[in-house]
């Protein structure tokens, strides 16, 4: 992946730019080398780039002034939340201002009557739930990095999680955002009334990966926590049986809160790693959550148990909260477990139609042999979101390059069977050059025209999402070395 060409004229003006930003955000500018190195990467840690300067505004007006200044001077802007993006969305530019939203982390208002919370963008996903859980509420989207990732970043990436099938992505759980446009204007899209009085720009901005503006306030919906959650684990002798089971559950009208698939290799590695009690020898394992009121859940569980049996699988139910946690602990340790098999790993993220799973797994097997690299699969089976994990050793000549090529071929395969390049990690810099696999020139041209409607100077997060002519190497991955993720304290699933 080629990084954008640096404008050396901007770099030469660095001292002047730092001084101007310090005048706008006194005490909120990071310009020393050691300070800046904190920001030189996000969770796509294969790529590093020191920013020109990092500014940490304290309120929306400072954001607006920074953006006005950048627009007037023609300086690129890269927005950043907590830097947990897996697709390089917050990768800095050598000639760009990194605008970090971490200081804006107030919970502005909790409104139970209207089922919503108003927050600044730097509030973490989990802290929204923590603020309301004593009253029995929670915020539904639950990306695996939720302990660290911020709601502003969630809006930018349209973050998902394990429970999307039932509760939707970020975009389905927002009522409004306040956004500072590239020219510095502040606009509010939606709000507690849930209406915008014109085009659905809220929907457009959500998932726009920092290309359209900087989010400075968010109104999220909160939900009443389901009174009952039950967890089943089902094991199968073949992948086909597991696939049939997933399709049959969906066709039956049951909407599980979560439905996770692991292939035999992943299950084996996980069982060796933290012994969650996965049956040895199974070719596929499903973990299924049903939640809701007692009787709804009983009905769903009885249907699921029957369908698992009809599909040729064996199911067991967690008998208590401790066992539920144990079953899930395995799934959530998948990345770390794979790290024991080889020193390095990359994680892909694509979505396929569920019925294509057996075909995709078969073709991935062939690719694995072709590239001479091992892999396993974890899969949000309910919504078809595949996370293949490719293992390799970066110290061995050519393995890193082969792993990247293998990964790109997997994403091409996802598109070929009718799926998409990214289910939840975003395009960023990681999948930028694969966009042409999924979209035609006309498709991309229309998206680019929308980009220009917001950012006519092209200053916002340039080099991300849209493929550039100069790029020549495709790849897509999270790079993990020595089982150490970029944010090792974060679970990744």
């Amino acid at each position: 992946m080629l990084l954008p060409v640096t404008d050396s004229k901007i770099v030469a003006r660095r001292a002047e730019i730092v001084a101007a930003l310090e005048a706008i955000v006194p005490g909120g500018v990071v310009s020393d080398k050691s300070g800046l190195s904190t920001f030189d990467s996000d969770a796509l840690s294969a790529y590093h780039q020191m920013p020109l300067v990092c500014v940490l505004p304290a309120d929306r007006y400072q954001v607006s002034e920074v953006l006005k200044y950048a627009a007037a001077e023609g300086i690129p802007i890269v927005p950043r939340g907590a830097g947990t993006s897996l697709s390089g969305g917050a990768l800095p530019r050598e000639d760009g201002i990194l605008i970090g939203m971490g200081r804006m982390k107030r919970i502005v208002e909790i409104d139970y009557e209207n089922g919503c919370v108003v927050v600044e963008p730097g509030v973490t996903n989990l802290n929204i739930t923590k603020a309301v859980e004593a009253q029995g509420f929670y915020y539904a989207p639950d990306p695996s990095s939720q302990i660290a990732c911020t709601i502003g970043g969630n809006v930018a990436e349209n973050s998902g999680g394990l429970h999307c099938l039932k509760y939707g992505l970020t975009t389905n759980n927002l009522l409004g955002v306040t956004l500072v446009l590239p020219g510095g204007e502040i606009v509010t899209l939606g709000g507690k009334c849930g209406a915008q009085g014109g085009l659905d720009l809220l929907g457009l901005v959500t998932g726009s990966e920092g290309l359209l503006g900087v989010v400075v306030e968010v109104v999220v919906k909160i939900l009443r926590k389901a009174p009952v959650t039950r967890t089943l684990m089902a094991s199968f002798d073949t992948v086909q049986e597991a696939g049939t089971c997933v399709a049959a559950i969906i066709a039956d009208g049951v909407v599980p809160a979560a439905m996770e698939f692991m292939d035999g290799r992943a299950a084996e590695a996980i069982e060796s790693y933290n012994q969650p009690g996965y049956p040895r020898g199974a070719e596929a394992i499903l973990i299924i959550d049903a939640d809701g009121v007692e009787a709804d859940v009983s009905y769903a569980v009885s249907r699921i148990v029957e369908i698992v049996a009809q599909s040729g699988g064996k199911s067991v139910e967690a008998t208590d909260e401790k066992q539920r946690a144990r079953i899930w602990s395995g799934r959530k340790a998948a990345f770390a477990a794979m790290g024991r098999l080889a020193p390095d790993m990359i994680c892909m993220d694509g979505t396929i139609p569920r019925h294509a799973l057996p075909q995709v797994l078969e073709e991935m097997e062939k690719l694995s042999q072709q590239y001479g690299l091992g892999f396993c699969n974890v899969f949000h089976a309910g919504d078809g979101n595949l996370h293949p994990l490719i293992i390799f050793d970066v110290m061995k000549e050519g393995e890193f390059e082969r792993a990247e090529a293998f990964g790109a071929d997997i994403l091409r395969l996802c598109v070929k069977v009718g799926g998409v390049l990214s289910g939840e990690h975003g395009v960023g810099i990681e999948k930028r050059d694969l966009m042409t696999e999924m979209f035609s020139e006309a498709d991309l041209d229309q998206q680019h025209r929308v980009k220009c409607a917001f950012d006519s100077q092209g200053l916002f997060n340039p080099g991300k999402v849209f493929p550039t002519l100069s790029a020549c190497v495709e790849q897509g991955h999270i790079h993990v070395h020595g089982a150490q993720l970029p944010h090792p304290h974060l679970p990744r699933y």
Binding site: N172, E185, Y299, V420, G423, M435
Partner: protein
């Protein structure tokens, strides 16, 4: 009028219109032409021939259809697999006194959702992808055909509620939802708006996952008294009994099983106002403001849907500025749904937006349709 039933034909038509700088109205079933600023006198592009379900995969929860497919056809095909569209498309034909066939793209473009929007959101929450032709005469696609996708900008959101001002749609892909086998309507009769809306909010804040929460004042409700709050619950048979018991637990025994016909379709379709004179407005506000805003609006005929976040009312045309002011005062939006052409021309569909937002909206419109060929001014 040109009737065109292929995407290639639409591309040619748009390119010709672009060369002539000749705007036009996009028409399919024709049931919603009287919504928004009138486009009288413009030539029409009739796309009603772009009809039919193209692919339906029940086990994938995916339906792809041509834009002018009749909603009735989609609803009945989905019902054979116990599924439904998530956005509870509303049919405004009775309200608007229009004849014709209500189509999928018409409901999407007008963001027409009924009371069931409460459960799975609007069209924007389940439209996964589309094909269409932009104002440059280029055919393109956006989004995808799988239920989870974050690849590229979410343009499908934009076409929902755009009233045909961005794209001539040629194909739509939706996520569909299971259709619960059972439902029950509960009612709390003879309650004031304050008490009724408070009851609805209590249910909205519960884990009951309601599919309809409306309040009808006495003169709009089937039962007499101050007014009635209606609650729609869904599920399989046995779980439903438990949900009803839980609702009793939250609201007391005054809430009863409603024995008459399900009131929600007539509420969601605006049919309650079909035979009432005056302009019909939809005022969107935060749910807890409903009783206060309803008092301020002071309409003879009104009702509250979606927990109170949507107030429907009938009013004389002279009330337009007052209604808009009240909505703005509540940080809400007032949409003029039914009125004569002159009033619609005067008030538009929505109030003018703040300057920066209005300018942004114009830029986005221009990104799709720079010469403003499609339904100009309707939104």
């Amino acid at each position: 009028m040109a009737a065109i039933s292929t995407e290639a034909g639409i591309v040619d038509f748009v390119r010709a219109a672009r060369a002539d700088k000749s705007p036009f109205e996009i028409v399919a079933g024709g049931t919603r032409r009287a919504v928004g600023r009138p486009l009288d006198g413009l030539p029409q592009l009739d796309v009603s021939g772009l009809s039919g379900i193209l692919k339906y995969e029940p086990e994938e929860l995916i339906l792809t259809a041509a834009p002018s497919t009749p909603l009735a056809e989609i609803v009945s095909v989905l019902a054979t697999k116990n599924q439904r569209l998530g956005f509870d498309p509303a049919d405004w034909s009775q309200l608007l006194g229009s004849n014709g066939v209500t189509t999928l793209a018409g409901a999407v473009s007008c963001d027409a959702s009924g009371s069931g929007r409460l459960r799975h959101g609007g069209a924007r929450d389940s439209l996964l992808g589309f094909h269409g032709v932009n104002g440059l005469g280029a055919s393109f696609r956006a989004g995808g055909k799988v239920v989870k996708n974050v690849t590229g900008f979410d343009l499908p959101k934009l076409v929902c509620g755009a009233h045909g001002t961005l794209v001539v749609l040629t194909e739509l892909t939706f996520r569909v939802f299971p259709r619960p086998t059972h439902f029950a309507v509960l009612a709390l009769h003879d309650v004031s708006p304050d008490v009724g809306f408070a009851a609805l909010r209590k249910i909205a804040q519960s884990a009951l996952e309601p599919a309809g929460l409306s309040y009808l004042p006495g003169n709009m409700a089937p039962a007499q008294g101050q007014g009635s709050a209606f609650i729609r619950l869904e599920g399989a048979s046995q779980p439903l009994e438990e949900k009803i018991a839980l609702a009793h637990g939250l609201l007391g025994n005054a809430v009863t099983r409603f024995g008459e016909a399900d009131p929600f379709p007539t509420i969601g379709n605006g049919e309650k106002f079909a035979r009432i004179d005056g302009d019909i407005w939809r005022v969107m506000i935060a749910p807890s403001d409903a009783p206060r805003v309803a008092r301020e609006l002071n309409a003879t005929h009104w009702l509250g849907d979606l927990t109170g976040s949507l107030l429907w009312l009938a009013a004389p045309s002279s009330d337009g500025p007052r209604i808009r002011k009240i909505a703005a005062g509540a940080n809400g939006q007032a949409m003029l749904l039914r009125a004569d052409a002159q009033t619609r021309a005067q008030f538009g569909l929505y109030a003018p937006q703040p300057p920066a937002l209005a300018a942004l909206g114009r830029s986005v419109k221009a990104a799709f349709d720079p010469l403003s060929l499609f339904n100009p001014g309707r939104l």
